[in-house]
């Protein structure tokens, strides 16, 4: 049983799908591990560290994937990257299929079984495999660090001989995993923190972290919590009311962090140009939804822009800006999933195709796109 670990090819992707820690565990499960040369460098893991954990280093991707039963990656590899891969090999990663149907179809044609880590069901058993949570948690932390780094004032209240410095006011939009970590981190740094979310359950969570909850709490709000843990799309009427409340609140903030992402959709627009322009010069917005177009009208994905003195941070891979920790957790998520795909006694791959984790994550198999959300792509020529 051979596991291959790819070097990432996407620009700015500094993470890696395995670490010396998880390589050691794979070997304990009876696998051999082939790591593509330099795969860990972006996360400060040298080839020598992988070798020390028991892996071999492959000088090319072709050698890494040759004969592999499992191919691990962060970003979706192109079909050409996988040239020579065994048909039937499992390709496991954050494959981001939405909006990339042509690439998914090409991937299917290689014959591999592509498994989408983002589709992992949000059930107790799969929490340890939940890359969305592990990475969003770090993005929420790093968003506050990025904000503090460009913010031109101190975050905490300071009592000095020359008088008091008031604490920064930070507002977090969206109190999911990223938002809650952003709240906690901004509180650590001494900011006065408020937050909003369309789910009523978030109110208690925000308050338990010391944040003030800001929302139009009408009937629709109370009914909005969905079983999947994600925010469903709210009515236009609610959105208008919420935008009005938000707008007046944002005008008074020093730092705003937006975290609203709905899987498979463009990011909802939470902050308009007018709201940005209502903020004082020197204020900072960090838009964690930049990768899907942004929650802020003026976000430029991948860039830090200054609009009339308001700094808008639009990095598209914020978790990738703390790659060492991000890779550590991502690799553990992957390890936990793979453990369910292996027969440890026989030391070989033993996928239970009826397991709900497998059914939820398999995107392509036997040359076709098989995931129900992508039947159209599968039907394409």
């Amino acid at each position: 049983m051979k596991i291959a670990v790819l070097r990432e090819r996407a620009e700015g992707e500094s993470r890696v799908a395995a670490t010396p820690e998880t390589v050691g565990k794979f070997i304990g499960l009876g696998a051999t591990v082939s790591v593509e040369e330099g795969a860990g460098l972006g996360s400060r893991i040298g080839d020598d560290q992988f070798v020390a954990a028991g892996a071999t280093i492959s000088p090319t991707v072709a050698i890494a994937v040759q004969g592999a039963d499992i191919v691990l990656c962060v970003r979706r590899p192109s079909a050409s990257t996988l040239t020579g891969v065994n048909p039937g090999a499992l390709v496991i990663g954050a494959l981001d299929p939405y909006g990339n149907e042509a690439d998914v179809a090409a991937l299917a044609q290689t014959g591999v079984t592509a498994m989408v880590m983002e589709f992992m069901p949000r059930i107790t058993r799969a929490q340890v495999m939940d890359i969305l949570s592990s990475q969003a948690n770090l993005a929420g932390y790093q968003a506050v660090i990025e904000a503090a780094a460009v913010f031109e004032r101190a975050m905490p209240m300071m009592m000095t001989a020359a008088g008091t410095v008031r604490p920064a006011k930070a507002f977090v939009m969206g109190a999911g995993v990223a938002g809650l970590q952003a709240i906690a981190t901004a509180k650590r740094l001494g900011a006065v923190v408020s937050a909003t979310d369309v789910r009523p359950a978030a109110k208690e969570q925000v308050e338990s972290l010391g944040g003030k909850f800001i929302a139009v709490e009408d009937e629709e709000f109370k009914q909005a919590e969905t079983a999947g843990g994600y925010a469903k799309q709210m009515s236009a009427e609610y959105q208008a009311k919420q935008a009005e409340l938000t707008a007046s609140h944002i005008a008074k903030q020093d730092i705003v962090i937006t975290t609203a992402l709905i899987p498979g959709r463009p990011a909802p627009r939470l902050i308009t140009r007018e709201m940005v322009e209502s903020m004082a010069p020197g204020s900072v917005i960090v838009d964690l939804a930049a990768e899907r177009g942004g929650n802020v009208e003026l976000t430029q994905p991948g860039k830090v822009v200054d609009h009339n003195g308001v700094i808008i941070v639009g990095y598209t891979n914020v978790q990738g800006r703390i790659p060492t920790t991000a890779s550590q957790l991502y690799a553990r998520n992957i390890l936990a999933f793979i453990t369910t795909l292996i027969d440890a006694k026989e030391k070989k791959l033993a996928v239970n195709w009826d397991d709900e984790l497998v059914k939820a994550t398999v995107l392509t198999r036997d040359g076709a796109v098989v995931h129900p959300n992508f039947q159209q792509a599968a039907a394409a020529p």
Copy 2:
């Protein structure tokens, strides 16, 4: 009584010597205030805000200083910047005279009374005027923010579904004002913090902030505390012992912040190339002494460098990277001093040349360099 506020000319200097808050106070003391156009922009203070506080805006420096009794600045202005200034005007700022004797002599020849804010005695009455403390405090805060921004891991311990992330280990060298704020800020962010200093009194302070104190605690150490609050230079023998202890400690750290500055001297060398090379790739050093050559052998003043994977941050004006707060406190320090130089009833300048604050800070007067520390410069042709 006219007070002029200069726009700073030094590269990267974003601070300003007055704010709308202090301008209002000056006017309350009977002064008129002339602010050079754009003086506040680096600190996000628009000319309109100065006007709203009662100042007039001068389109050129010549107009600003014309007839001024007091000229306020952050950095030492060149003699040519002050062309047309009244002989006898007070020029008050962070004049940084050491090593700049030729510029100081030129300044003297303009006839102004230059007053060095860094020379303010460290006595209770002058605490509110202590720019070294107010700015060092912010530098210590910002040093940790800069470290977190380039650090590729999370600072706090994180308990996640995918397992625990260990907290970062941060080591602060020098537990003066900057060091103590760095300790406090690193603790806020969840790091495991240790610190060192040659003064025994620092041990208690470090521990009271939750840091672990690291020092060779021999007889010399116990006698090293000086009245001025600064570290006196230690013996070569002590330095060798301390360097040995420090070296073994540094090798295990993720983040090191150095803050050792002795006024008027080059920064002491605390971290050698070998110590840098003993740290793991991905570690971060922030050198707050970069402006005086650096505490770290490999620091490049003004730059962020990567030496074998260890990031060395050598910004020369770290407090200037949070200019809004830095200007706020600096301006308050200046205001407090000027209040002692004014007769509020008569609404005019009334300098008591025998006041110890004045005696300690006056650098030039009546065309000569008069400060005892600079008698040689005064004797120069």
